[in-house]
């Protein structure tokens, strides 16, 4: 089997010192293969977001190693880490942080342009990404001309724009209604079927069920809950 897109070994994260010391993550081993969609569930405060941040090179583990696309993040220069964040990893987080002076399409194209992609090509990817989140044709609008849900979808389009190998999502359906939330999960699923990997944090069982593999964080440790590496052959398996 080929190298996993994300590999974590004995990853630990400790906050504070002495009596205030909290072990947020303890000896986490986790692989996410190409094409695999993994969901992490667990209560708030169980370390889910910390784990996601470490996987995406936004936070450093106290112990252990993380490899993205086979490269150890601990051995990489800040410049290389920045490039991984801009190019390889897609982030879908709860906060929007859209730049108000830029249009939706400009916001979405920004990470690609920052990486040196020619503007027309970056805009092409931005249009595709906006289309994917159901905002096709709205690229010229500014954030203040969009509803809260639409702004969140622009942020999702920005997180997923271009060819990315690892998609990280933290409660991506937060402020969205059920149907729109489902379309975002469908999008993550489709991207995985095209070869990307996704790691999603959610406390909703119905969202976790979109993943191939569901794991649970409890007291900073991982429990495997359910693996579905294949789709049931047909409805006949469920129908009786």
């Amino acid at each position: 089997m080929s190298e996993p897109v994300l590999k974590m070994r004995r990853v630990g994260k400790t906050h504070g010192k002495g009596a205030q010391r909290v072990d947020a993550l303890v000896d986490i081993d986790l692989d996410v293969a190409a094409g695999e969609f993994v969901a992490i569930t667990g209560r708030s405060g169980s370390g889910k977001t910390t784990l996601l941040n470490i996987a995406g090179a936004l936070d450093e583990p106290t112990t252990g190693n993380v490899w993205v696309e086979g490269r150890d993040l601990g051995d990489m220069s800040n410049h290389d880490l920045a490039r991984i964040r801009r190019v390889s990893v897609g982030y879908v987080f709860q906060q929007f942080n859209l730049l108000p002076a830029l249009t939706a399409a400009e916001n979405v194209a920004l990470p690609l342009e920052l990486d040196g992609m020619p503007v027309p090509e970056a805009r092409g990817y931005a249009d595709i990404s906006l289309e994917e989140v159901g905002l096709g044709g709205m690229g010229d609008r500014y954030p203040d001309q969009l509803s809260g849900g639409e702004q969140q979808r622009v942020a999702i389009a920005r997180g997923l724009v271009g060819p990315r190998s690892l998609l990280l999502a933290d409660e991506p359906t937060g402020a969205l209604d059920e149907a729109t939330g489902e379309s975002i999960l469908r999008l993550l699923r489709d991207r995985c079927e095209l070869g990307a990997s996704a790691l999603m944090v959610t406390h909703e069982p119905a969202f976790a069920a979109w993943a191939d593999r569901v794991v649970r964080l409890r007291d900073g440790q991982i429990e495997e809950i359910s693996v579905r590496s294949m789709v049931p052959a047909s409805t006949a398996d469920i129908r009786r």
Binding site: R43, R186, R189, E204, P205, A206, A208, A209, W210, A211, D212, V214, I225, S226, V227, R228, S229, V231, P232, T235, D237, I238, R239, R240
Partner: protein, 186 residues
Amino acid sequence: MGVKEGLLALLSDGPRHGYQLKLDLETATGESISINVGQIYSTLQRLERDGLIEDGGKDSDGRDIYQITPSGRASLAEWALEAVDLAAAGRDEISLKVLIALSTGGLDPRVVIEHQRRFTMGLLQDLTQLRHREVDTDLAWQLHLDRLMYSAEAELKWLDRVEERLETAQIPERVTDVETPVEEGV
């Protein structure tokens, strides 16, 4: 349960013969249930005995045709409008298992929860995949699938809640007498 009312509902749309009723009932329920033809005929006999349906003659192939009576229509209307009482629906096996485990020294409710969660999460994944893939299937099946998915989701949330409550109540973990079965291959 439900077959009787299903037959009455179909017959309220017009007379038909027994085998047709079987096929129509399966279609109407999104093929979520399968009924053997013997059960259809025994139910029809009971309905006829109770005066809810009556002999409607024979079709061109000589098959017995059934038709609904006025009291059959009344019975159908009564059933359709009577709300289903969740609290009176009878035993809930998962709930029972957890409660019994809680009150039994040799069982740890957490172990029961863990096994149930694995199973139901797997089911919910399968159902989600089915719905993702089969967007054009018939409406009856989609509605049934939605119902199963909401039930699975509610169950998973309940299991999480139980676990939280056990923690708050500081119920200590127990060594279970029940041997953990070997995990099935995935």
